[in-house]
Subunit: 244 residues, 2 copies
Amino acid sequence: MARFFMLGTNLLGGTAIMTGKDAEHARVLRIRPGEDIIICDGKGTDYKCRVTIADKQQVEAEVIEVVPCKAEPSVAVSVLCGLPKGSDKTDYIIQKCVEAGASEIFFFPSDRCVARPENIEKKQERWQRISEEAAKQSGRGIIPQVGWLSDYASALDLAVHKDLGLFLYETGEREGLDTVLNAHTGIHSAALITGPEGGFAAFEADLARMAGLHICSMGERILRCETAPVVAVTAVMYATGNLS
Amino acid sequence: MARFFMLGTNLLGGTAIMTGKDAEHARVLRIRPGEDIIICDGKGTDYKCRVTIADKQQVEAEVIEVVPCKAEPSVAVSVLCGLPKGSDKTDYIIQKCVEAGASEIFFFPSDRCVARPENIEKKQERWQRISEEAAKQSGRGIIPQVGWLSDYASALDLAVHKDLGLFLYETGEREGLDTVLNAHTGIHSAALITGPEGGFAAFEADLARMAGLHICSMGERILRCETAPVVAVTAVMYATGNLS
């Protein structure tokens, strides 16, 4: 069933009205009166609707059922990544992490980042569009926010305010990711910090440790900077019963 | 430390000799006498070597330590995918599944495959090269084989001969992936069957069920055909203690 995101107010009164690019998208999908679609409020609620009018400018649909979006995981996972070099990697992280169940994704500059954070505003627009597309495609109940944090300290600060903050690191003294997750299965939020291509500098790991984050290993295989976040999100989903 | 794959015989007698593209690769990496490198036999054993000679044609190195490759998981996971359309998706599946810990990857034609399996021999060469690169990069002890199965029955046959055979499916009666994996944590081998873009036809799921595979759900989020194998491999690694 085709799926659209729409903010709450247009759905009041038992009728949904889609205009603009959503109406255009419906036209591309050749959606006709009588067909059922799902309109999601972007806050985790799905409105199952039957289309009554579908013309070039506008789609009108009658709400026939209101249900919580089943695809939303029980844990809100924030993915925080040292900015990788090349938009293919950022795009990939966004698309795959949204599919895997992340709730928000932020990039930040770190010591070994070689990427220059230029035109961040324009980049954020593209990032958000990729998130929206992945959210639609995978049936998510929210459009995960994708953004930019101007420094590493902001990433740490965001992470320490979650139920569980994990710093994924490939060397030194670490806890097993599974050990940590299995000891925290009842969490409602988690943050995952992963590095750019060159990994994190030792002082960044030290800061994370001092901030109270768990320094975690994901095994002996070296994961690329764009693979690690997806693997980590999947591990959290698995450990919290959101992959079944 | 730079990492190379080499088959067993050249390593006999305490000296390793690299020629051809490996010697060329060493030259690109500017490897000099006195430096340590790791040469892996491709069967799970790492030879830590000290380079004695490094010239254009040949690298000679003295074996100083022989250890099992720590990055090899305790479970051999076979990934079996309905051939997706577009080489970017197959390439992606190979690269990410090798990083995540898969032991072999096979593509096969299924009912809803839109891709034409043309020039398979040439494709297999490229697939194997991607596997080798990903294995080197992630520090694997083997180069996972990547191949082509000429029909769906061969995929089923391969899967039923593993300790655990899973058919990942997005609809109908299914077991939770976590339930199945948590009941089989002592496995030494597993097969994961995932579909092409359009998913599997109902009769293909029926055949898998009749063959004795577990029909599994990975939750309510719809994963792209190139994302599902990586998420599934990660789940197996997590459940069997290979992600810590």
